[in-house]
Symmetry: C2
Subunit: 337 residues, 2 copies
């Protein structure tokens, strides 16, 4: 094994407790003593054994970030920031991949990692409010994204209705009349949980445009491939759309590809806008107009709130934090130049 507190204590001629106090700073230590201990630590190259510390403290120092897929650049970007932020607060962040599967989400939500993680930042896709309310564990939880609302947990997200509205308003302002939405899900009509669809409808309504169900495409997942498929179908309509609002950038990028394959021009024939502002959208041809959430802020808030809950700080009631966003017009709606 490595160097332990005991080794340092012997070397410095003090007690275990004193060394611990030098390391952790809970109690004051005399300047002389501190110096001797510090020297011993440096000489022997001591690093605390975290397993022991965690056993004693009843915590592991691990928090999890549960996302549907790391290969969605939005989540990769979010994760990168969350990892850094967790590190700053003395925690190690582990990724949990739900693959957008109900079982995986339920298992995580209900403490699959109990005793392993101190808390969970969770971006639900399949699981709804009811499942969150019926949770079988009390591991601290922070929700992110638009999946679940009004549950008694901290929730960090953009105002999805407003974000979608601003995207669609942009298309309306460009004179588009037949605006499609790709990325709806079965059952959404009744659930009223799908805020992006709601924002889309609201923007249509305020522009005096009719809501056309045939322009709303349901997708299985939220990847590029889903965008391609849905867009092909939309292009095959007798009256195809002159604009598309994608649930996220990946879907919008898929739509762009489908238009290109069909020989259409963007934005002349079809304007396209997404949400997420992933790096990829800035380098394709055309570049992608998008609604940019403040990813750093979301990640930071989520991790900080979670840690506050874990450490039992007096955090006032479950809180919903709406982080800022902004529309970023690019070539897919405004054309080159």
């Amino acid at each position: 094994m490595g160097v332990s507190l005991k080794d340092i204590a012997e070397r410095a001629g003090v007690s275990l407790a004193t060394v611990s106090n030098v390391v952790n700073g809970y109690r004051p230590v005399g300047a002389q003593t501190r110096l001797r201990v510090q020297q011993a630590i440096d000489e022997l190259g001591y690093t605390p054994n975290l397993s022991a510390r965690h056993l004693r403290r009843g915590r592991t120092g691990l928090i999890a970030l549960a996302i549907p897929e790391l290969t969605n650049p939005y989540f990769a970007e979010l994760a990168e920031i969350a990892i850094r932020e967790a590190g700053r607060l003395g925690y190690t962040l582990v990724m949990e991949n739900t693959a957008a599967a109900y079982e995986a989400e339920m298992s995580l939500l209900n403490g699959a990692q109990r005793h392993v993680i101190d808390g969970l930042v969770f971006s639900p896709v399949r699981v709804g409010r009811d499942e969150v309310l019926a949770r079988a564990t009390d591991t601290p939880l922070v929700l992110i994204g638009e999946g679940v609302h009004d549950a008694p947990y901290d929730h960090i997200a953009i105002d999805n209705v407003a974000a979608s509205r601003s995207a669609v308003r942009h298309l309306v302002a460009l004179g588009r009349r037949r605006i499609a939405f790709i990325g709806a899900r079965h059952g959404d009509e009744s659930q009223a949980a799908h805020l992006r669809l709601r924002g889309y409808r609201a923007a249509l309504a305020e522009a005096g445009l009719p809501y056309r169900p045939e322009l709303v495409a349901v997708t299985a997942q939220f990847g590029r491939r889903d965008g391609v498929r849905a867009m092909r179908d939309l292009l095959a309509l007798a009256e195809p759309p002159d604009a598309v609002f994608g649930y996220n950038d990946l879907i919008a990028i898929g739509a762009l590809r489908a238009v290109a394959e069909a020989g259409g021009r963007v934005p002349t024939d079809v304007a396209v806008v997404g949400i997420d502002d992933i790096e990829e959208g800035r380098f394709g041809t055309p570049t992608l107009t998008t609604v940019a959430p403040d990813k750093a802020e979301i990640a930071r808030q989520a991790v900080h709130r979670l840690v506050a809950r874990i450490e039992g700080a007096a955090v006032t009631g479950p809180l919903t934090v709406q982080t800022p966003f902004r529309l970023v017009p690019r070539e897919s709606t405004t054309g080159p130049g």
Copy 2:
């Protein structure tokens, strides 16, 4: 605290050791006993306290994957598989971001996370063979990627010379004569460590094409932006290239963007090929020709080798494992349709 072994032992009327054996299966347990214990476990909802287990075993069950950036889709895809694979072997994988910074790489290499992780899968960028040889810790280490070779550690990678050669041969076969390489680094000429550049030169040589230094672009990083910048410069040459081989897909995608911005046609004016086969390359316009490494195989081998070392298994066979790759021709070299 939660339910402990002791609680289960009392409930089932057996000893601690027996419960432990039911959980871990080190020693045989009678059918009757096993049943009673299992029942108690289910009823009380027992999960082992990992901190205690790790303290006792002297291991943490954590392994790290150190990569330059999670926002490079290649690494995100790799990480996703590595996480799953680690989980299968009973380990939790944590991501470490080096940001391609020398300091960060050195610190990780020399045990920054000692006592926290049992082993490290490392994709070095800045750090070279010398630094790896001079390592100040004995935490098990597996290297991946083309950064460091011939160090006394397991190393999983594709044959980068061969992979690059196949990419450039493809361009040669298409009749291209002025083939550029984007993604060289300062000092490469002497180091001979940059295998992709070597493969590029080899393919030129075997095709009887001259090596033109002005067609080799040095980049600071390996991102899309670096590809854009380098390509702009190449296009400004008196005799611009008729083909580009990018160090990776991100650079190639940047090159595609620069060509589009300059009003050039791909592949008519410039053919482009990269390495990595990231998902993004399959959905842009044009789609990107690439050399596809077997990411799953790389991730799997790296994690398995590392765990074998951690658990002290007699690891046999060569230290260096070359995983398969294949050329995937797409529109950026062969045109649409």
